[in-house]
Structure formats: C-alpha cells, structure tokens
Subunit: 245 residues, 2 copies
C-alpha cells in the first residue's frame, strides 16, 4: 500500500516545509515533493522545524515544474480555500482521505497538492487535479501550509485507523463479576445500616437503588471493587473506634 | 450553544499560545485559559503568532491553579500522548467532539485541557478530567501544542459541520438533459464516421459504447456539452479545410 505524496508548489518559507514534514511523519506520510521552491534549498530552517522528520526533508525531491512533479501521479487532489469558477468536485478532507485509500488499494499512486503560502494554487495547477479539497473552518479561515498538511495527513491516517473511539487503558482490567459487586453492595449497605444512614426507614429501598446505580455507572474493575471495600472497612473501623459498640 | 474552553496548563512558549489561538479561531473556539504560564504574559510572540486571532489572546484569562481555571467546567477532557496507569476512558478526537457537542446541547460548560510542551499534563491534572483524549498518530508521534489544539478544534467544528462530503462549485450548473447528450453523441459519431475513425467497421458498435460511457462519466453541464460540440465543429471544419471533400 503506497501513501499519498505531499506536493508543495512554490513554497516560500523553509519553516513551513519543515512543519509540513513533521506533520507528515506523524501520520505515516513520507513522499515529499517541492515544485520550484522560492526559498533556498537545502534549507536549515526546514531541517530545524522538521524536528524528528529530517529524513523526509533529506529525501524530498525538487522539480522545476508541476508537470514534472506530477508525472507518475494517477489520482491528484488539490487543496484550496477559495471558490473557483470551474465545475469541479470539492471534497471534505475526510471524503478525500477515503478516495485516496480506495485508489491506493488498487495500487494507484496518489498525491495531494498544496499551493504557496501567499497565493495558494494558480488555476493552471488546479486544472491538473481530479478534485479540490477544502478544509471546513469558521468564517475566520487562516490555516498555514503546515496546518493544512497536518489536517490532511490526520484524516488520511484516520481513514484506516482501527483505534476504537472509546477505550480504557489497562486492558487487563475487566469489569467485576456481579458477585463481587453484590458483595460490595451488601457490605456497604450493612455498614450504612449500622451507622443509621438510611433515614427515614421507608426511604431505604429507594436510597439503596440510587447508590447501586451510582456505583454501577463507574464500571468497577475487580481491583477497584476491592479498593472500595477496603475503604468501607477503614471508615467503619474508624467510626467504631470513635463510638465503640 | 457554548463552545469548549481551551485550557493550557503551564505553557512554556508564547509562540505556542499564539498558534493555539489562531487554531481556535479557525474552528469557532474563543474561550482561552492559561494555568500558570511559564513565559511572560502578556506576550508579544503570542500576539504575532496569533495572526488574526489577537482578540482571543487579549481575552485569555490567566489562573494560578488548575482548580481555579476549571471551577465552572462540568465536562472536562484532557489530552495525553502517553499511556497512564489509571483506569480511565481514552477517546479519539472525533468521539470526544461528539461528547462535547452532546454536553453543550444540554447547556453544560465544557473544556479541553492541554499540558505543557515539555511534560504534558501531570497526574494530578489528569485526575480532574472525565476522560482522556489521544490523537491517533503513526509510531512517530510529535505533535506540538498548536497542532494538538488545531486537531481538536477541527474535530469539534466538524462534528456539527453540515458541509456535504462531496460537492460541486457553480451550483447553477445542472447536468445536461439526455437530449443534449444524445445530440452530442450523434454529432461526434457522425464526424468520426466521416473521418473513417471506426475501423474495422464491425468494432464500431463497441467503440461507440465506450466513447459514450467515457463522456457520461464526466457529468457534463449544458454549457460544457455546447463547448464540446463547438470543439467538434472546429476540428471537423479544420480537417475538411486540409482535405476538402
């Protein structure tokens, strides 16, 4: 499976190229191409801003023209913040990521094209793309080059990421079996009874139900159930010490 | 509907606070809070990096302790890159955004807590959060503070964004009626016939079918259909000029 190339057209600042490389590496992208960079190249600021992604900067390929940089690309999406007067599909980053994955699954080389910091992509460059990508923002829309690469890389990784939306660390932790929980309930209720907590008595049943629901909502593990029982023992012991029966 | 507060704990560099503010504004967030900033405050570099989001920097509130900064927050998620030895839910940014939206719909004040650049959040701070958020990355995981705020803000905006995944600019453009397309097909095939394009003749039917499919795939508008017919007229005229019949 190949990952999309990130192609920067006429980038102006080494810092932004470095940020783009760092963003790429976070999300598993490595093929960086530059079309006619407007800053000197190689570039010290790019290496510094790339942080741990200097390998991507060192391997970056530089081309004189878009046609050369894009020669082997079969599916090309171009990022744009502005409306264009051309009939062309505009994709959200998420939709674009899904299409890139589908193309890659067929063995097709893909790329995302980013314009220069000041002017974005010109119409000639846009005319080479299969579709445009626009990142949704509020009315204030001011994303720099590194941020745009970051968001597209993120969506690309996410589109094949198997991380469950909600998980719990400590995977060894399993929810307590009901017996342990019932043991906890009975222990707690016994101690509360002894402490005359349930008053008036006719409310006891509803109070017990509420306490049990509150405990169950926290999905206790075995260890946590034992911890709470230990807390009850400690508290009850202490109280008895104060007023022995 | 309130938006989540962005709370930065012990931020070290004004640049990063500025980047965070700029990221926030792109996605409709405005409530920025700082816990014990380690840089001087107010901070010139923060204002510069905020770019058009200086209003967020100016309105940022500074607190001495996490407890003060979080006092009015009812739902709090804390970002972390590292595993923690505590049984706590870990959410993807997307799942966190959905929960934030749901809480906001109930009128609850929400916030996302970010740790310092060097050390992240300490365990005391984590212990105040309802759940953790971890941004999925490749094995290389090196997101700075501004980038983390950017990705969380993006997911928050996206979770209520109604942008269709795929759209086409120029909404006035409607697909050509079949009659126009058929007119184009017949015109093109007539000219190709005249040019002896269909050879051998028994292949003509299949070739016509392929050409028609190719044209239909591009979902031509009225104007585009007319443009193509004009191109055919021009090409055919030119050819006849070269070899008049």
């Amino acid at each position: 499976m190949t990952a999309p190339a990130v192609i920067l057209s006429r980038p102006q600042m080494g810092e932004n190229i470095g940020s783009a490389a760092r963003a790429m590496k976070n999300f598993g992208l490595s093929d960086l191409r530059l079309i006619a960079p407007q800053c000197e190249w190689p570039n010290d600021r790019a290496m510094i801003l790339a942080s741990g992604a200097g390998d991507i900067i060192e391997a970056a390929r530089v081309y004189a023209t878009a046609a050369q940089a894009l020669a082997d690309i079969r599916i090309l999406f171009a990022t744009t913040a502005r409306g264009r007067d051309v009939l062309r599909e505009i994709l959200t980053p998420q939709a674009a990521a899904a299409r890139l994955r589908a193309a890659e699954a067929e063995g097709l080389k893909t790329a995302i094209l980013f314009g220069s910091e000041r002017a974005g992509l010109d119409n000639d460059e846009m005319s080479l793309a299969d579709a445009a990508i626009t990142i949704p923002t509020s009315k204030f829309s001011s994303l720099n080059l590194g941020q745009s690469v970051l968001l597209l890389g993120y969506e690309w990784l996410k589109s094949a990421d198997a991380t469950p939306p909600v998980r719990t660390r400590k995977t060894q932790a399993v929810p307590s079996p009901r017996a342990e929980l019932i043991g906890l309930f009975e222990h707690l209720e016994r101690e509360l009874d002894a402490a005359k907590f349930f008053y008036p008595p006719e409310k006891k049943e509803a109070m017990v139900r509420n306490i049990r629901a509150m405990i169950l909502r926290s999905h206790l593990s075995d260890q946590e159930t034992r911890t709470i029982r230990g807390m009850i023992v400690a508290l009850a012991k202490n109280k008895w010490r104060g007023s022995p029966r």
